[in-house]
Symmetry: C2
Subunit: 515 residues, 2 copies
Amino acid sequence: MYSADMFESAELGHKLDHATYARHVKTVRPDLLDAQYDLLANKSFPVIVLINGVDGAGKGETVNLLNEWLDPRHVRSVAFGTPTEQGLERAPMWRFWRALPAKGKIGILFGNWYTDPINGRVEHRLSRTELPGAIERLRRFERLLTDDGALLVKLWFHLSKKAMKKRLEELESNKLTRWRVTKADWQNCSKYDQYAKVSERVLRETSTGDAPWVVIDGSDPNYRAITAAKTLLGAIQGRLAEAKANGVEAKRAARRQRSGSSEAATSNMPVFETVDTSRILRDLPFEERLSKGKYETKIVRAQGTLAKLTRTDKMAAHSVVVVFEGNDAAGKGGAIRRVTQALDARLYDVIPIAAPTEEERAQPYLWRFWQHVPRRGRFTVFDRSWYGRVLVERVEGFATMAAWTRAYAEINDFEEQLTEAGTIIVKVWLAVTKEEQLRRFKEREHTKFKQYKITPDDWRNRKKWDEYILAGSDMIDRTSTSFAPWHVIEANDKHLARVRVIEAITARMEAAFKK
Amino acid sequence: MYSADMFESAELGHKLDHATYARHVKTVRPDLLDAQYDLLANKSFPVIVLINGVDGAGKGETVNLLNEWLDPRHVRSVAFGTPTEQGLERAPMWRFWRALPAKGKIGILFGNWYTDPINGRVEHRLSRTELPGAIERLRRFERLLTDDGALLVKLWFHLSKKAMKKRLEELESNKLTRWRVTKADWQNCSKYDQYAKVSERVLRETSTGDAPWVVIDGSDPNYRAITAAKTLLGAIQGRLAEAKANGVEAKRAARRQRSGSSEAATSNMPVFETVDTSRILRDLPFEERLSKGKYETKIVRAQGTLAKLTRTDKMAAHSVVVVFEGNDAAGKGGAIRRVTQALDARLYDVIPIAAPTEEERAQPYLWRFWQHVPRRGRFTVFDRSWYGRVLVERVEGFATMAAWTRAYAEINDFEEQLTEAGTIIVKVWLAVTKEEQLRRFKEREHTKFKQYKITPDDWRNRKKWDEYILAGSDMIDRTSTSFAPWHVIEANDKHLARVRVIEAITARMEAAFKK
């Protein structure tokens, strides 16, 4: 049922003679460079160029050409082969996240997130019923990128079956170019029809308004070069013009917000107000207590269980990610130390999350967390996390409403990918009452070595107590999934909380190990 | 012949009762935090804490304690186990370089560069005659760190044989703490005497004036905690006081340099002037030419050989690093593209080296190059490199004379380590005459898409032509080693240069593959 329409126009045998080519180069090449410098000065979005298509259609040559025509100091070309050991130890998207260009830069990705689904289907590693799910993932991932402002330029280099064969034969017949043809090239050639069928479907279903595919006839090097360069140039110029127009609009909006007009004030209101979710965090048995004697037995027992679990063989196929969120002064630091005490120091990392650096701000907000995703066998504790997007960034207005509302789905996707790669995710919210927080703030101010723990920010946040509770409750409501549920733990009694945290971790590990 | 003197005083059974401990904590803990904040504000050096010693002597507990007493947001604790696959694919020091703290920060390294030499000797992976070489390497590495300003605090936690056994037995007898004792602990215990002998020697020979070992009796938790904390505190405070004193001196020196006094002017003069090495770069057959016809055959043939070499099985045990240096406008970019044309795009990376970022400036200058060291099977091209230290940084006075003169040895050590891990290093200097450079600069100014290649910096550098030639010649003289020689290639004729570059690479690869 899939017609090959999408590729047909790329089999018309487009050609450019040398004189025409030279004339085009004269304008395209300097314009491309100008566009690159404007992009660099503008710094408001990254350009992600995907290079895909038929073997022998000039993919590698195009990468070389773009690197020659652009200022290569601001281009990052990354080529992905079959995943290495390192790649296989984490969720498949990990290596692509690491290669994303920062705002203002151009990234050329050669052998990218399309390679594995297409090859997988042709080689039957992916069944017919699994393909739609894989395609949907790619769409969601690219949606995340474009929602964050990225310009995606997706180039597909095409050759007809006949042209592909001819090209390989030509290269092979010349002693000097024979080395360019590998066994894999001929194997792919023999499966041309299957590739065409699968590719055509994937392309059609991932050609979205924000990230369309451009299919380029690869048979003539001149035509191919000019078409690729012009496509990229047009995309960058178009977006820069848009960004300039939006920039004026954004400045106006910021002015309105500063002057406190009602329009700006409402823009950070939650959109889903049908249920009051905030009871999740208010109606907790805060009065429960654990005596010191009982605590000392229980904590050591819980730590023992945790230690044993991390030493079983099952651990080799899994990694553990523990996320700590909660009210300020709820005892996250103390709880984390009770967890790590039970672990071999060579096994774990604790990642404290503060405000993002300049480098991190130039990327989608999930980018910095992907950097810390543990490989199999390892245990990573996040002291605050990617949930900052829907907590502090929402409440303080650092993220637009559009950004934080779409974050719930992006986070769920992220956690689902980790889970499928064997990661056990344990998410803990430590809750204290407003009165208990006040008591702890005051205590911190009076203990010299605890003073660094209390800052003007803490007092400011406290004034927004209700907003933080609302944000926290919404978050728990919208991101408690079957694969990564939230554990809300009342923490007015630190001892009780510490025991419960470790018990939550061990329960999740035991459940995963049983599967 | 090695007496156990070094450990004897750590077997006296030091103890602190709880009241004394509490009194100490009251002052040490806030002081440590103050010192950490001063360090952070000062930002002039990193603190590297090494945690080593006998199992059961409280290493892990000390790491936890320091993380509790310090502000953990500015501490990075890294624990190293046996190298992972990823670690084994590169030179052994690679993973330690990646873990170094930036200036102003504290890094706690647990299981570090001492672990493998000591364990290796005890387990006979390292022979008696190899040990001195391994020790010398550690000294040289630490010397690099301290020369760069790092404060190294090396803590060795000791237990007598009897105390170690008693500690393991105690832990095992309690159902709740039994999990803390592993089989490896008992194995290490049975080899206590060998460990003690090897450790004692390594410690004595690596206890230098700039980076001494502090041996701490690990039998009493209170004593151990206070001693470790006070050692760290004293070291940081001492160095901060020094830095303050030096800061005043440095400012005075900078003032002198700006006002152009003779004292400053001489400080960048080379110290080794007995031989005029600059002939290396002046007396080259610049007039040689290669016709276009011959070039086209030769370049394709050279590329074919290179392509084949990278596809042989031998490549799996090696990686290739190609370094490009040379005069401005000598044609590095064009030569690099002719190299990469012959490579599978999934195989190589091109790393352009510009001025270091702020993050990179907060580390020893070799740090950023270690980040890019390729794993086995891969090919990395550096467009300019670590030689910037002895070229532009020397000529422009960005590095002190002390810094760039010691860089020659540091670079040789670095390249030797890579070579021993299987890396084939090919270093190319592309040389053009002063007249040819002028011709190319002018051409660039008149070609629109080449204008970005010519900046005021290029004209400024050209005025210092002789200084750059002297720096380049010294560099070639002092860093042409048997394992990583320089290839000086005359490049007035671009075609000839490109062919020679590829031939240099293939010759080095063939030689390495034959071994």
